[in-house]
Symmetry: C2
Subunit: 433 residues, 2 copies
């Protein structure tokens, strides 16, 4: 942290709603906001969640204002009587409630656009504490707002947003974060860049990075979203210097863990594979046994995948492996369905059946049953076929059935990615239990 | 609420961890615990989340003890120096910390079982505030505990659990909930039963239920986990009467919305289908276009699905539909790939190719592109083939690509379920946007 004083150093997030305290809904807003605050160097003191109850909301606002410069509230802005945020906040701050005609107009127009009359109680959503700056909500009826207050002699800011994630998130991106950055009188910015990795565990990546990023240069953080781990570099400083520092540190990250990086930002393995196949003008075929359609499902989850996906065959039984993929009875008998040989014949068969450029296959034991001494649960073979090559490799995976399937599907997609980049497949995973 | 006084009426959940306040991890523990408290009739006053910081944890404990009879804390029980829960709680309560040799023995045994020596710092996990009742953690090194305290003249209980969900949940089920129920001096119990439904929206189900359950008889609650909605009935009273009331109300639920119920408790559509196929000794084949393998992936996500799943064919292109499913070029040309006719030929082709008893097929437009005037995005045809029948039906779905695919996969599985039960497929969904 630099010595210059910042207007906002500490924040509290306040989530309101009976659906949260009764266990009906998982609060994902707070996590998303926590991440944004972290990226902007703001220390999150606490998240407080309360139901739709005036006394509890008031306690939460008071506790938050006592402890932080910034309070971000989500929820409780709906049109019904149990939506109390504005009423309680105004009372807490000792401010009047004022009605905003422009917001009411916007709501009426929104209702007209879907051919309905606006119910009278929606007008409550045009109420704001006096002095509030209204934040537009293009996707819903409830606008948000922010209000600057003097709380026991200290300067505080309260930001009030709707609880619906698809409304709250763009409002935060478009209205709140730019304002927050503008408030920072130090002229300093926080910049960050994320790398998506697969194949090494968090602790393995941490070890590889070693002391490559000194604490005074920036911050490395890891976020695991099985089976991929993102590595984020965050720097802080004056804009020009921060950009240079980010470029420098990003290069160091790539030097150390580059082989595990498959994309940046919000990249997914299936998205990257889709893009590479499109660039190469290749059509992919997929043959699956233990993953049961998961590889195909993931690839086709990307819009426009029909341009790169020839077809998939899920062959769960020896009969189907023979009938749909042309795996030979003799191969199945001699080597078993979970083997290098069958993985290769599955890939070759899928490529032939779907008339594809490249094909990938997966056969293995996802468990919980079906393991043998030779092929215990977690044994997975990946096969790959293209013009002039037919290869396979054995992997020893672990975990629950879900995990093994997901990990196997990721390895299969990574093979396609690496082949498209002219790189060999990963020999084994640096992922420890 | 009955007039008898209960020992625990109000609770606060306290979640600790820098991974929560920096946005790295979504706090799913609190939602799970909130649901358990709700089921047991305990009013959740607040959830407070703070990072690994002694002053903040202390503030959270104090706020919680001021406001509730029961405080449930998760996280901060690890072996490292930033795990502060026990230390801070003991200081807050003014209790000494005592070392429990039996817990240390258990940890050493756990490490021995995986062939490793226990690091010295794990011994911290055998520290407890004086007077704590230790709660066994069969799945990890950190035991939990509960402690009864006098807080400003009021009787309070603090339950401390590890933050790892797979350790926290069984400890709650096995140690905390039975103790909580035993504490209830009124002799009354909370009982509940959940019904899993598909095909009607929350508001449609609510309308169908009408006033069938009066507030004094019990409570109905809906939980949407797209595309299924669970309906829970909760009753409260002396054990014998509560059981009778639950049976009576459950019957009313079945009367009103029975056609949409596909299972109870934690049932999933794929699990129910798997079980029915097993009972009938049928093998299922699946032909997919727009769902891209999702139907097969879901069915095979159930352990033991190899006994009921013959195989799946994901045919994304007209060529693959012809080559792997035997759909006729003429049919494709005359009716288009998204049509009743092609859905039927896909189902028949999959059944033949995989030598299956029954087959289901899906073809449609998941979007965001590919819609036409005749078949806009969201148009999905489901086909079904069995001995003596070959049928199909058109559905008009909506939403994002993900939603359309998930909804279509659910309809396809529901067709198989309904066929196995000798019931006709649903004509259309009672789900509004």
């Amino acid at each position: 942290m630099p010595a210059e004083e910042r207007v906002i150093e500490r924040a509290v997030i306040l989530s309101t709603g009976d659906e949260l305290t009764s266990g009906l809904t998982v609060d994902t807003n707070s996590n998303w906001l926590a991440d944004k605050l972290f990226e902007n160097g703001i220390d999150l003191v606490a998240v407080i969640t309360v139901g739709d109850d005036a006394e509890r909301i008031r306690w939460a606002f008071e506790s938050a204002l006592d402890r932080a410069d910034l309070v971000i509230s989500t929820g409780g802005l709906g049109p019904t009587a149990d939506d109390l945020t504005t009423e309680v906040l105004a009372a807490t701050l000792g401010r009047e409630i004022v009605f905003d005609e422009a917001s009411a107009q916007h709501m009426r127009a929104l209702f007209r656009s879907i051919g309905r009359d606006m119910p009278q109680n929606n007008l409550r959503q045009a109420n704001f504490p006096a002095g509030a700056v209204i934040l537009a909500n293009p996707l819903g009826t409830a606008p948000g707002y922010r209000v600057e207050v003097d709380w026991k002699g200290r300067r505080r800011f309260v930001v009030v947003l709707p609880g619906v994630p698809r409304e709250m998130k763009p409002m935060t991106e478009n209205e709140v974060l730019p304002w927050l950055r503008g408030l920072d009188a130090t002229g300093q910015v926080y910049l960050s860049r994320s790398f998506q990795t697969f194949g090494a565990s968090e602790s393995a990546l941490d070890e590889m990075m070693g002391r490559a990023v000194a604490p005074e240069e920036g911050r490395l953080s890891f976020r695991a979203a099985f089976p991929q781990i993102s590595v984020r570099v965050t720097v802080h400083g004056r804009p020009h210097e921060a950009e240079a520092a980010l470029a420098r540190l990003s290069e160091r990250v790539r030097e150390r863990i580059g082989d595990y990086v498959f994309g940046e930002g919000a990249a997914t393995m299936e998205g990257v594979v889709n893009q590479l196949l499109r660039q190469r003008r290749w059509k992919l075929a997929i043959a699956e046994s233990c993953t049961g359609g998961l590889v195909a499902e993931r690839l086709t989850n990307v819009p426009g995948s029909s341009q790169v996906f020839a077809g998939g065959l899920v062959a769960y039984t020896p009969q189907t492996k023979q009938a749909t993929l042309g795996v030979r009875a003799e191969t199945l008998e001699r080597h078993g369905a979970v083997s290098d040989e069958v993985a290769r014949e599955m890939a070759a068969g899928a490529r032939r059946a779907c008339d594809a450029d490249v094909a990938v296959s997966v056969t293995g034991v996802a468990g919980p049953d079906g393991g043998t001494a030779e092929n215990p649960v977690g044994t997975v073979y990946v096969g790959f076929a293209c013009d002039g090559a037919l290869v396979s490799r054995r992997y020893k995976l672990w975990g629950t059935r879900d995990w093994i399937r997901l990990l196997a599907s990721q390895i299969a997609l990574d093979w396609v990615r690496r082949h498209a980049l002219g790189r060999p497949p990963q020999e084994s995973l640096l992922i420890r239990r």
